[in-house]
C-alpha cells in the first residue's frame, strides 16, 4: 500500500497550458505539503495545509493553486505553464510528534 501517492509521475506539456497534479495519503496525517525540486536538487516548500486549511503559501506565483478537499488529499493546479515551472514536484505529509515527512514519488513536469 503506497503511503503517499502522486499522479501523474511524468507530465510533458506546452507553455501556456493548465495542468493538475494529484496527491493522496493514507497515513492519517494532518499536514500535507507541496515541494518543488529544481534541476540543482534544491527542495523548496511551496504550500502547507493542516486539516484542509492553508498554513503556508511561500512566494509562489498565483498561477499555482493548491486545493485540499479533505485532509487526505492535496492537489496542485498550475495555470499558464511557463518553461521555468519545469521541475520535480513532491507531495509530502507529516503528523505532529511523528516521524518526519513521508514524500510521494514525485511528478516530473517538463514544459516545452
Amino acid at each position: 500500500d503506497t503511503a503517499v501517492s502522486q499522479t501523474p509521475k511524468y507530465l510533458v506539456t506546452q507553455m501556456g497550458n493548465d495542468k493538475s497534479i494529484k496527491c493522496e495519503q493514507n497515513l492519517g496525517h494532518d499536514t500535507m505539503y507541496w515541494y518543488k525540486q529544481d534541476s540543482k536538487k534544491f527542495l523548496k516548500i511551496m504550500f502547507s495545509y493542516n486539516n484542509k486549511e492553508l498554513i503556508i503559501n511561500e512566494t509562489v506565483p498565483n498561477r499555482f493553486s493548491p486545493k485540499s478537499p479533505d485532509k487526505a488529499h492535496l492537489n496542485l493546479h498550475i495555470n499558464s505553464l511557463e518553461l521555468g515551472d519545469s521541475a520535480v514536484y513532491f507531495c509530502a505529509s507529516s503528523q505532529e510528534g511523528g516521524n518526519g515527512y513521508t514524500f510521494g514519488s514525485g511528478t516530473r513536469l517538463t514544459v516545452v
Binding site: 540543482k40 534544491f42 527542495l43 502547507s48 505532529e96 516521524n99 515527512y101
Partner: protein, 112 residues
C-alpha cells in the same frame, strides 16, 4: 532562511566514515535528515528535537547542538547503499505545519 550544509559533495571508499554538517542562522526547534537516491523521493532518516540530542540507527547517527544551531550526520563504515544526496531540514517552530526549510544537500558517493 536556508540552512547551510557542508561539504557539498564527498567521495568515499566502502568502509570509510563521513560527517555531514548542517548549520542555521536561526534558532531551531528541530532538525530532520533525509536521504534521496537518484530519481527517487527523499526518505526520512531521523529527527532531532532537543539541544544536545543524539540519535542513531544501524551505522548512521546524528547530533543536534541547539545552542550552536548546528546538526551533524555521522555515517560509519559506509556501505554502497549509503550513496545518495543527504538533506537536512530545519524546523524553527513546533507544530509541524510550518514546513521544513531544506539545505542544498550533500552528494555522497561510496565506491567499492
Amino acid at each position: 532562511q536556508q540552512p547551510v550544509q557542508s561539504p557539498q559533495a564527498v567521495i568515499l571508499r566502502e568502509g570509510e566514515d563521513a560527517v555531514i554538517n548542517c548549520s542555521s542562522s536561526k534558532a531551531l526547534y528541530s532538525v530532520h535528515w533525509y536521504r534521496q537516491k537518484h530519481g527517487e523521493a527523499p526518505v526520512f532518516l531521523m529527527i532531532l528535537l532537543k539541544g544536545g540530542e543524539q540519535k542513531g540507527h544501524d551505522k548512521i547517527s546524528a547530533s543536534f547542538n541547539e545552542k550552536k544551531q548546528q546538526s551533524s550526520l555521522y555515517l560509519t563504515a559506509s556501505q554502497l547503499s549509503y550513496s545518495g544526496t543527504y538533506f537536512c531540514g530545519a524546523e524553527d517552530s513546533g507544530g509541524g505545519a510550518d514546513g521544513l526549510t531544506f539545505g542544498k544537500g550533500t552528494h555522497l558517493i561510496i565506491q567499492p
